[in-house]
Symmetry: C2
Subunit: 742 residues, 2 copies
Amino acid sequence: MEQEEAVAQPDVESQLTYRIERPVYDEDFIRTKLLHQKEHSTTLRQRLAQKLRCSPGKAKAAALRFLPILTWLPAYPVREYLFSDVVSGLSTGVVQLPQGLAYAMLAAVPPVYGLYSSFYPVMLYTFFGTSRHISIGTFAVISLMIGGVAVREAPDSMFYVASANGTNASAAAAAVLDVAARDARRVQVAVVLTTLVGIIQFVLGILRFGFVAIYLTEPLVRGFTTAAAVHVVVSQLKYLLGVKTQRFSGPLSVIYSVKAVLSDITSTNVSTLILGLICIVFLYAVKDMNERFKKKLPIPIPGEIIVVIVSTGISFGMSLSSGYRVDVVGTIPTGLLPPALPEFSLLPSLITDSFAVAIVGFSMGISLSKIFALKHGYSVDGNQELIALGLCNFVSSFFQTFAITCSMSRSLVQESTGGKTQIAGLLSSLVVLLVVVAIGFVFEPLPQTALASIIMVNLVGMFKQFRDIPALWRTSKIELAIWLVAFVASVLLGLDYGLLVAVTFALLTVIYRTQSPKSAVMGHVPGTALYCDVDEFEEAAEYEGIKIFHSNSSIYFANSDLYVKALMEKTGVDPERLQAARKAQKKRRDKANGAGQNPPHKMCVKFNKEGVTHEVLADVAAEDEQRNGRLEERLEEALVSEPPGAVHSVVLDWTSVCFVDSVGAKAVKQVIREHAAVDVQVVIAGCNRSVLSELDTLQFFTKDVTPAMLFPTVHDAVLSCQHSRRAAQASTSEAASCTDDT
Amino acid sequence: MEQEEAVAQPDVESQLTYRIERPVYDEDFIRTKLLHQKEHSTTLRQRLAQKLRCSPGKAKAAALRFLPILTWLPAYPVREYLFSDVVSGLSTGVVQLPQGLAYAMLAAVPPVYGLYSSFYPVMLYTFFGTSRHISIGTFAVISLMIGGVAVREAPDSMFYVASANGTNASAAAAAVLDVAARDARRVQVAVVLTTLVGIIQFVLGILRFGFVAIYLTEPLVRGFTTAAAVHVVVSQLKYLLGVKTQRFSGPLSVIYSVKAVLSDITSTNVSTLILGLICIVFLYAVKDMNERFKKKLPIPIPGEIIVVIVSTGISFGMSLSSGYRVDVVGTIPTGLLPPALPEFSLLPSLITDSFAVAIVGFSMGISLSKIFALKHGYSVDGNQELIALGLCNFVSSFFQTFAITCSMSRSLVQESTGGKTQIAGLLSSLVVLLVVVAIGFVFEPLPQTALASIIMVNLVGMFKQFRDIPALWRTSKIELAIWLVAFVASVLLGLDYGLLVAVTFALLTVIYRTQSPKSAVMGHVPGTALYCDVDEFEEAAEYEGIKIFHSNSSIYFANSDLYVKALMEKTGVDPERLQAARKAQKKRRDKANGAGQNPPHKMCVKFNKEGVTHEVLADVAAEDEQRNGRLEERLEEALVSEPPGAVHSVVLDWTSVCFVDSVGAKAVKQVIREHAAVDVQVVIAGCNRSVLSELDTLQFFTKDVTPAMLFPTVHDAVLSCQHSRRAAQASTSEAASCTDDT
């Protein structure tokens, strides 16, 4: 420690100085003299045992982690928190209600199931959730994904029944859609999908797989949700216009839907359209006011519930349904359904979809909870969130709900109205319960177009994500590509395949980055031991005969060829060509010498041309030694094949190398050998110790590739190359002088 | 330059010394004072124009590159090379012949098509190929892949015809396999597949996409070819045993095939089996002798042609076909077929398969040519090889051939018998031509079991690849996983899907590597400016209050969360928890103080406990200042929430970071901010300049994250942290003394 203090602690008052004076190290020295590995007394078995050991403390902590309510409820400060929680809970409940009704339409199930989904899981989350501010419940993107699956599994075409009791003769031929049977089937699909989503989320949570959400990088999620918004708007167009078209699912469903609506646009119900547009304008105005007067309003204006109540009133008062043929919500049964087993026979065809829903749902939830946790200074547990969501979905699905996660807009309401804990969420679910068991029937005359307008206005925020495109263009082309691929694939192929394509593409960009690294020849910034790109910086100066090659990536199978190619291009040393030229030359010489039986021996010759010292190592038949005239000629030949400005050392700067695989190691070994064959020394610098141990297991070091070729820093390598070069020159000039003597 | 010379050129005689003395730099200083960017006068447009410019020289070079024969033939040294080329060509031709017949069986087409495939493409390669030593022609793996497709597209079940003229009443019900129609169809499939393979290879070559082969990393190719060997052996079992079973294709075909053969094993033809086993033993012995007496034998013993000739003779002499019901090759039409257009209507269903065949074929070819090129000191052009293979396949397919590449065993014969140029390949094709047009019918009595034994013995080398497993276990578990996945997937799913799965898996391992980097807390090796893992090396010593965190990977969306997590684990600083504890504490205090209307003001207190100096920054309400007793209590509280051994600076060692994306940059920014909020300084060290410019475009630097937080080396960062710490302590002790005064 004393030694280091002297070096690392210059006087505080004076200018801070970086001062190092030490011998030049190579890896050989470091291994044998400088560093000593610590002995680790704990074996793998011991560490494993320690990890798996069970204690009462651990068990209690695990229980508390599983049921977070046990931690926070006993310490709940009633006087302080309760009032805010009640206000926030009621406000959120008032938003849950219309959103539940509206998103049920997206999920292709009758509205009352949206209310169930806004009650059971919301209540359950109170017990298992770790986030205090997010509002669990129906969410547009998830609902739409469920709707897509429900429509695919129970398409309209399955439920046409011949209308047997038609009085008209022609009607007997026409088939009638059995809406009740279709909806019952779609509910079954949605419910069993939700069960599966719950199981997947729960299992992933137990297995501590919360990290899967990281594959959904931000540009991907934003492109994906923008695409979801496009899907939602397209799916709501028909409700807004009052046009009756089929609902499509699967690839290109957006195009089919738009086409169907456009081809039926003449049958637009004007009353429906006007009512919808009024609702949209009103909701947008309220949203804008809430935003603008955020600070002045005690609670946000509940625009959605106003729209629901007023439009229900108008619809009832003016008999819009019967008088103007405006589509209304229709039957809302009062009370809850008894628990029932989901229809598990439907499971097999839903597995892929449920993975998509489970992961999208979780990633929406976790990203929002992290934002709030950060803002309010507590932490959320990703894996517990996954377990909580899984339990909410799984248990609730027995009560006929569809999959939920948290919704951005509702969570903002809950937080901004002063919600402090999960109690607010619980209260909001009770508001929904009240409606379901007591006054649900009141909403029966509610026009569907009002719900469509609620959905659409809620999506305005998502469409704002189009602004990402110019921003990403400026910051990162690769991330822009991810955004666009996620968007285009999700719009065209549907949300499930779109997500798969987007994730695959995002992962391939990582491969691409390693394959197109920035490589450069580095030069020394005088007096600093820092090296940087000679093409880019004026101060970087190359040393004569030494090329320092830096490539900004690891070296492994997918880029080792490219690495070697870039190396040869940048340094200008192509050993294969040099070697070939030498062989050709040797053959020509052998031919000239007839049979050329005499064994060639090596001779070093120094040579001066255009102020640069070239050195040529020529294989010369022994008999030739006397004929000095022909020797000159041969040297001339050798010079033609050698590149000018003779590089004698190549330093591979490996500071950026994170890992090397066997293909990469072989490629580098090959490079070292090939260069050695044409008398160019290749050394490696700045290799970190975990790559070094990888090289050891890959048996990289052999007789001709030794640890003495590795240096801890580029500067060490350069100093050593200069030194060995000077030593070689000294002995060469001796050899040359002895040649001259003959 | 002078300045640097002084530093970098110590006296050659003395011990080599690394000596640096300079101010501590941060990125701010580097940008403004140390480095200046060079101005690049060439714009993108200019560079593009330069690249696309056309000149007569360039055109000539392109022409020569496209037709390499124009380069080497005019310079062909007839006297020297011709004799060796003739010997080698004849020897190779003698191997081409039986292999052509045998591999046609694998490709599920009649034997004569194997001969066509051993003639046309081999001849064409002479003109377009750049490798002088590889022997183009039929190859087991490719033939098997073609066979799989042919069987899938034209299964036996398609060609059962009711035997109308059956005299037996029960035979009228039984269907008879129309072998001629089936084989004709299979030839069509194989031919059009070959056309497509040729087009794909040619287009990839023109587009300079030769690099696609790099995705086939060595362990993958070895696992894959071992699996192919398993497929081949299984497919040949029935010929060896003389059992008549159906040929299967697609996933699990290996299992079905084995099952079919085993269930029919009682019908084994003993004569066939004995003949086959004798051939196998003989061929294996010859192979062994060739290996053992490599140096003494002038040319390798042509075991295969001996087997073909002798077994044909025996079969003819003993009438094995009619007398012992041994299956023989059957009709071999004499002469060549006129060119015909492939059946393009079959194309759509073959696209995936042809990509697989094209890429596998090319990667086999290029890897072998590279080995020979290296050995004999010339170079091959990957893209030209791709073009050559593409043309060979495409043009030949009009003459009814199936896809080819080079075969390892045959190439070794060609090279070891002294082949010097592509002339040897040309001659070998002429040998085949001679047989086709003159004496093809001679081989009609050749037993199929002899061909099966030739195929099997040729595969012995591939089965030796099982030895990779223990070797890879020792060197690299990840590469072992790639080998095993490639093998198992290719055996079970078939070669096409197997290859796809294997490539996907190999690419995912790269992602995995970036997600499971080795992270460590680094310590200084005294006096060296080198830093290494404190857990691993005895010499590495940490500085008090400074944690240096190194992670061996880039920071991007798929690992930024893991990076942050590892950082907090390793350094032991969890700002979120610290912050939460502080907030909770503040609230408790506010509560204790009643309404707590007085604005809190900051106060610094220094504190000594257990020999370690803790510093606590406590927010204290102004009115509290007088009550010293309660102050002590509060400090006690604060100490509980602060971790012991107070870390004041965290250095992120970014020497291994190759790229950063927006998610990574945001995560790091967040880390810096969170730590700053709890008074821990986070700085970044050793970031390379291309990552720096990425950070710039990602708008990483803002008011609170400045370039002054970046240092060129870890040592610079450590020195600077120590300095700023000492400065802070000096001002703190002043503040503390003023606090004590009150």
